[in-house]
């Protein structure tokens, strides 16, 4: 155990557990926890789907149906077309991001102790969405789907035409401006999409760490830090759900925009 200073404490909590994988390095913590949460989330949903009945639903089925209808209503409000893919896409995004964000509720130091002494993994982080890799993976996947649906809805030529001729006009002198504008738009989408979620979750984690550091200074710090941590955790419930919801809505909005003709 190295000497515990504020710097080493923060560093300890914010460093990733890295592992060599396929000739590169991989964040084992983010990958393992996100996969685990994704599997658990989908398994819970699948549990309701397996026994789905059109008659009187069970309690779990009713709860999952509530979630499905909520997601479907939200998606319908921005994308009134065929939702057989966009619906499950938004549902997956919402459930997965919500579960990953919710990992932030676990107390940072207890989890660090658990990872280190029970699982023998040091520098293991609980919150996959506080890793920019995870949020970028999601945002870039949505971005790829956006390009795919743009081309599917307008045709390759139509998409390229829009790239050069929208939004200012199809005059050849405006092509460069149109393209520049569209590139900025296309780049800004996944960036803002992923960094918004990442920033919120990362900041939330940092605040917990700072309060934890204060708690290490003495009794007054321990009491006040504990109280503030509780308050922050309660406020964080809102952030966790809100960020998952925003991420889902933006996913649906971007896919819907891909279908729009200029």
């Amino acid at each position: 155990m190295h000497e515990l200073t504020p710097t080493s404490y923060i560093e300890h909590h914010l460093a990733f557990r890295e592992m060599p994988f396929l000739g590169g390095m991989i964040h084992l913590d983010s990958v393992v926890i996100s996969l685990l949460l994704g599997i658990v989330g989908l398994w819970l949903l699948r549990l309701a789907a397996v026994r789905a009945t059109a008659g009187v639903p069970g309690k779990w089925q009713a709860a999952v149906e509530l979630l499905l209808e909520f997601v479907d209503d939200q998606v319908k409000s921005v994308f009134p077309g065929d939702r057989r893919f966009v619906g499950p896409l938004s549902l997956t995004v919402f459930v997965w991001v919500l579960l990953m964000n919710a990992m932030d509720f676990l107390p940072v130091d207890i989890m660090a102790w658990f990872y280190e002494h029970v699982l023998h993994q040091d520098h293991f982080r609980s919150v996959p969405t506080a890793d920019v890799n995870t949020t970028f993976a999601l945002a870039l996947s949505v971005f790829a789907l956006m390009i795919f649906y743009s081309i599917k809805a307008k045709g390759l030529f139509g998409w390229l035409h829009e790239l050069f001729c929208a939004p200012f006009g199809s005059h050849p002198l405006l092509w460069a401006f149109n393209l520049l504008f569209n590139i900025v738009e296309y780049v800004s989408k996944p960036l803002s999409h992923s960094l918004r979620l990442y920033g919120n979750m990362y900041a939330g984690e940092i605040i917990f760490l700072l309060l934890g550091m204060w708690a290490a200074t003495g009794w007054v710090g321990a009491v006040l830090g504990g109280l503030l941590s509780t308050g922050w955790a309660i406020f964080h419930i809102l952030i966790v759900v809100l960020q998952a919801f925003i991420f889902m809505m933006l996913t649906a909005v971007y896919i819907a925009m891909a279908h729009e003709h200029h």
């Binding site: 990733f16 390095m25 499950p88 993976a137 999601l138 996947s141």
Partner: protein, 156 residues
């Protein structure tokens, strides 16, 4: 910080999850929800139809009841009329029968009286003839005095 393989693996996992949700989670639950919605809509429509039919049936039964009541009133009125008629007829029949009986009795009485009178007359006549015979001490020739005797009987 190490962007790259982590991102790729997360993206692959994401697509697998979406595929799973789109294939095994979304369709069965949506189908269940939509089927239930349809069933509920049908149930509500059937209930509405039943309500309307119930109203119609109630109206029809009211009408039937009113008709039946009217008919019953008619029948009662007719029955009362008929009863009065029967009573009248019976009264008339009884009166005429009584009158007939009284007339028969009177006729019989009159017959009896006249018969008694005839008998009396005959007997008086016979007595008179017997008296006359006694007086005359001879037999009255009935043939010779038939007219006289008849005259006598008439006068009695």
């Amino acid at each position: 910080m190490n962007i790259g393989l982590t991102l790729v693996s997360q993206a692959v996992a994401f697509f697998l999850f979406v595929w799973f949700a789109a294939k095994f989670v979304w369709p069965p639950l949506m189908r269940a929800i939509e089927t239930r919605q349809k069933q509920m809509a049908e149930g509500l429509a059937a209930a509405e139809k039943g309500r309307v039919e119930l109203q119609q049936a109630a109206r029809r039964s009211d009408e039937e009841l009113k008709g039946a009541r009217d008919r019953a009133q008619d029948i009662i009125a007719q029955a009362e009329k008929r009863a009065a008629e029967i009573v009248d007829e019976a009264r008339t029949a009884a009166r005429s029968e009584g009158e007939r009986l009284v007339a028969g009795a009177q006729a019989e009485i009159e017959q009896s009286v006249s018969r008694a009178r005839e008998t009396l007359r005959d007997e008086v006549a016979a007595l008179a003839v017997a008296g006359a015979e006694q007086i005359l001490r001879r037999e009255v020739d009935r043939t010779a005095h038939a007219e006289l005797l008849a005259q006598l009987r008439r006068d009695l």
